[in-house]
Symmetry: C2
Subunit: 309 residues, 2 copies
């Protein structure tokens, strides 16, 4: 029943002389997604963005950039390399590749080191591991080149591990519905104005994409006991947003530990469950944007249940 919920993430922004990425159409993106060993399940579009729900996570395409997240044992670096080889490295204005903290990294098709080696054959950039190897840690590679869009943009990621409580129980039961999950997550009130596209996996697992003008949000839920994981990500500027999105999701999903990664985003822990911030750091890229990472743990002692093998 193990499934690696934690995602790899790719963002690529192209130079101004590249035609609209949206005009490439669904067959092009189907082929890119296939390079990662995933497939497109459904599509939600508005005048600024195409949001594809994938068999393993999500793809968002704007005219000048795309963001792709894939979980499980997908090969997202292959998708990155396929895109770059079709357009040429000189058309990449900015690229960023991340791997979130994995439960079982030895089951992955490649390590971050191996992905990095291949990406560096096409793109020059800096890579970091943030966080200790025996605790939550994240890998990130960003090109040295940057562009205005990156510096203006804000992205906030909330990665939750070991969810528990009423919502977690519902997510693990066998009588769920997308409406039921959406209601428990309070999506309509937390993110007013967003259009949503969601999918329920068998035997469980839930994904939702949302778009509102050029803003996106996505949630992916792997509810499995002992290795549960829920990610939320958006390019909304949550510091200026009227709803306490992270705090409310933490209250609803009650994770034992969680990480927050922000790109040009402020830190605000108001409303978080009682916690210890075990570690954090802020990384200023040479090109001027700021990456912040924080690893939080609920302050409580847990009686561990040995897992028989």
């Amino acid at each position: 029943m193990f499934f690696e919920g934690s995602e790899k993430k790719l963002e690529i922004r192209v130079t101004a002389d590249v035609p609209s990425l949206r005009s490439l159409g669904r067959p092009f993106w189907q082929a890119i997604v296939a390079c990662a060993n995933a497939e497109i399940l459904s599509q939600l579009s508005n005048p600024q963005c195409d949001a594809y729900l994938l068999s393993e996570s999500s793809l968002f395409v704007w005219d000048d950039r795309f963001v792709m997240l894939t979980c499980g044992t997908t090969t997202l670096a292959n998708a990155a390399l396929s895109f770059i080889s079709q357009f040429g490295s000189d058309k990449v204005a900015f690229a960023c590749y991340q791997r979130k903290n994995e439960y079982l990294s030895h089951l992955q098709c490649s390590s971050f080191d191996e992905d990095l080696f291949r990406l560096r054959e096409k793109l020059s950039g800096k890579a970091y591991r943030i966080g200790h190897l025996d605790s939550h840690h994240h890998y990130i590679f960003c090109t040295d080149s940057c562009c205005d869009g990156v510096l203006d943009d804000t992205t906030s990621e909330l990665l939750m591990y070991h969810i528990s409580g009423k919502t977690a129980d519902y997510l693990r039961c066998n009588q769920q519905s997308t409406e039921g999950i959406r209601a428990l997550l309070e999506l309509d009130s937390l993110l007013p104005g967003f259009d949503f596209d969601d999918f329920l996996f068998e035997p469980f697992g839930y994904s939702v994409n949302g778009v509102c003008d050029d803003r996106y949000m996505t949630i992916h839920i792997t509810p499995q006991e002992n290795s549960s994981y829920v990610s939320f990500e958006t390019n909304l500027d949550l510091g200026q947003y009227p709803q306490p999105v992270f705090a409310r999701l933490l209250q609803i999903l009650n994770p034992g530990s969680w990480d927050v990664i922000g790109f040009n985003a402020g830190r605000n822990t108001r409303g978080y469950p009682d916690h210890l911030c075990l570690g954090s750091c802020t990384l200023e890229s040479e090109s001027g944007y700021t990456i912040a990472f924080s690893h939080y743990q609920q302050i409580c002692h847990e009686v561990l249940i040995p897992e028989q093998m």
Copy 2:
């Protein structure tokens, strides 16, 4: 500079009709150790026990049992299988195989699952993972069969991660001596009556074995920044021992986090640095011995240093 300090551990007790294991002599044990891809560096003996210091950790041999610990990317399961195939499964009165929390499990030659599969072709027993996959966790396999020696025996393991402070700095400097390290660890006062045999590795790393009658102790130090690890293990009954061995080692080495594993051993956290016990459990085997695991974290926020790759 990465080295996996955390150990795999094997204990095998043989049935009463097997001749003394000590009488097998050093060439026999050299061959067993070689199966794990390690070698014997030196030997310390007293009337009850032969203590071998290995290129990767330690081997202790008594007449009726042996305990072997190996770190790095050694293949301890191979050593176990070689021993069992030479004597026969029916001569194994009790066996226990553990893998401690690893920093980079994907660099290991095998997973615990794979080791387990092979061990179960020779021995029947129960296996558990204790602790969450995204936090410190340990694997343990024990045979269903048990024997008096196990139930009478106490073993205490202290596994320390991310050491810091004066002793850690000394362990990382390039002008160490075994005498200097022994003095900083206060071995003579903490463990009076023990004979010691220690070794300094290049460029750093330190191992020491100690014996006193049928009691043993061993310490292995991997001081590398970002992946430091120090283990202490003994079959002394620390609950009845006059010295606060664990508390003092924690004060001296100041680890960011540590795990305690006890076999028929009490829990006593007096003198530990300020900490949160993130999780613990007690596992009662059917054959009557008790395994306890606790994962501790110092209560402090750490400013993480991104590691450039």
